[in-house]
């Protein structure tokens, strides 16, 4: 059991987005022989969850969410690097994320990627303007559970529909869950094209992935 005070401080560094103290805390804990995985799951992850809750309630804002995800990434990288390689980092789930073909808007998509990583998911970020075939290809190759696509234009939303069909043709539609997002995208659109979920923003995306994976 890790000292309650250490766990609380770990959580605080995420909620208050304090990178240097967070990194120092991890380094000291590891050199003191504290279990990194336990520090992550009992300290830092409750922190990023708290950030998500506060963002949802409107008491923390996007720049703070982005920064908290950045601190989370720093501590996760440190802890993962300290684990004996046969243990490997715990896998919560694998995702492919992309902005669809013909669309180069990727600010939102990048926030989603960093938040997913901060929440412990393994993300294959294919970038922007990505061919539907490539999304399917990587989904198969990496054996992902979830595919998230972003479309910011009414003219590129149709690529999300195209993806649904491509997944069926490839015979893997029942093996993956799909999430759609982007400014013009709605829950109604998701239902219409047969996507499994719609995410309003990055934090909602986390909630939806959790629901879909039960993790």
């Amino acid at each position: 059991m890790i000292d309650e005070k250490i766990l609380k401080t770990a959580k605080q560094t995420i909620v208050e987005q304090k990178k240097d103290p967070a990194v120092e805390l991890v380094q000291k804990a590891l050199s003191d022989g504290i279990d990194g995985m336990e520090l992550l799951t009992e300290g830092f992850i409750p922190g990023i969850n708290e950030v998500g809750d506060q963002f949802g309630r409107g008491t923390l804002f996007l720049p703070e969410l982005v920064q908290a995800a950045d601190v989370m990434k720093a501590v996760t990288d440190l802890i993962n690097a300290s684990l004996p390689s046969q243990d490997g980092p715990q896998e919560k789930g694998k995702l492919v994320i992309a902005t669809v073909k013909g669309d180069v808007h990727d600010i939102g998509k990048c926030i989603v990627v960093s938040l997913m990583q901060a929440n412990g998911y393994t993300v294959f970020d294919l970038g922007r303007d990505v061919d539907t075939e490539r999304i399917v290809e990587v989904a198969i190759k990496e054996d992902v559970q979830v595919i998230g696509t972003s479309a910011l234009l009414t003219t590129t939303m149709v690529r999300q529909k195209e993806l649904e069909e491509a997944l069926k043709s490839a015979g893997i539609r029942d093996k993956v869950r799909t999430i759609v997002g982007g400014a013009p995208v709605t829950a109604r659109w998701a239902a219409k094209i047969g996507a499994d979920a719609f995410a309003e923003d990055a934090q909602d995306g986390i909630a939806k992935v959790r629901e879909l994976l039960g993790a």
């Binding site: 409107g58 804002f61 996007l62 720049p63 969410l65 982005v66 013909g102 180069v104 808007h105 990727d106 600010i107 926030i111 922007r128 303007d129 234009l153 009414t154 003219t155 939303m157 149709v158 400014a183 013009p184 709605t186 659109w189």
Partner: protein, 265 residues
């Protein structure tokens, strides 16, 4: 300052419902309010209706122009939708927008070539969204050059340097502002325009930040804006900032706005 009223946009839920219900009275009332509040153009956007966008965009133009004498700003990335709307449009329309994204550029250019339409030239390319002044200038130069070669007059070009959220990168505001200044200085006689509410995305008190950012952009030379003209403080800021920036001879606009009680907020 050219004011484009942004309210008739189907990404707003209430408007989407009015469009679907073909509620002409309400749409006309919104257009009338925008015009009375100082809008020069009424933006029309039916983008959320995939497949039905051309039909709805056309309906919006007809409905609005049956009630008010104002040109529309046809807001769509889809050339088919734009052409359908233009076919019924009276007066000189504004097209929002062409960009350097190849597909959009190739399809929109024939529509605007050799016309008197006002054209929004959005600083965006297949290489992604510009972040710095240099990124924006590189795109703007190519777009302007292409438009001029296709016989669009310089004074009909409204460059939109693309506002990106400060939430993501704290230099996004200043890079945008400096791009406005550089575009206006490099291409004498051209215009700049933007929908600037993106600047405050993800932050609280968005209206406050938008109103301030407008003043800063006007100081750099911005002379077109896609805004909510019913936001009285925003409109007051625009009038005041233009006067302060030396765009208002004998302060005539300022004084007439004062007499019309536009500063009584």
């Amino acid at each position: 300052m050219l004011i484009i009223g942004e309210l008739i946009n189907a990404s707003r839920k209430a408007i989407a419902n009015h469009i679907e219900n073909q509620d002409a009275n309400t749409i006309q009332a919104v257009a009338r309010d925008e015009l009375n509040a100082g809008a020069d153009y009424i933006d029309v956007n039916a983008g959320v209706f995939v497949g039905k966008e051309p039909e709805y965009l056309k309906w919006l133009v007809e409905t609005i122009q049956a009630a008010v004498e104002a040109p529309c700003c046809i807001d769509s990335p889809d050339p088919a939708a734009i052409e359908t709307a233009l076919a019924v449009h009276k007066g000189t329309a504004m097209i929002n927008s062409i960009s350097l994204e190849k597909d959009r550029y190739d399809k929109l250019m024939p529509i605007v070539a050799g016309t008197d339409f006002k054209v929004v030239a959005l600083c965006m390319s297949d290489d992604g969204m510009p972040e710095t002044v240099e990124d924006r200038m590189a795109i703007a130069e190519k777009l302007i050059d292409g438009l001029l070669k296709n016989n669009v007059k310089l004074e009909n070009i409204y460059v939109d340097p693309l506002v990106q959220p400060l939430s993501v990168n704290n230099t996004f505001g200043v890079e945008f502002l400096d791009a406005i200044e550089k575009i206006m200085a490099t291409f004498k006689g051209i215009h700049t325009v933007c929908g600037l509410s993106n600047i405050s995305y993800g932050l609280p008190n968005r209206m406050f930040l938008n109103q301030l950012f407008m003043v800063m952009a006007i100081a750099k030379g911005l002379d077109g804006a896609i805004v909510n003209p019913l936001d009285k403080r925003m409109m007051a800021n625009i009038i005041g900032a233009e006067t302060l920036a030396g765009k208002d001879e004998f302060c005539a606009n300022y004084l007439s706005a004062y007499r019309a009680k536009r500063f009584e907020l």
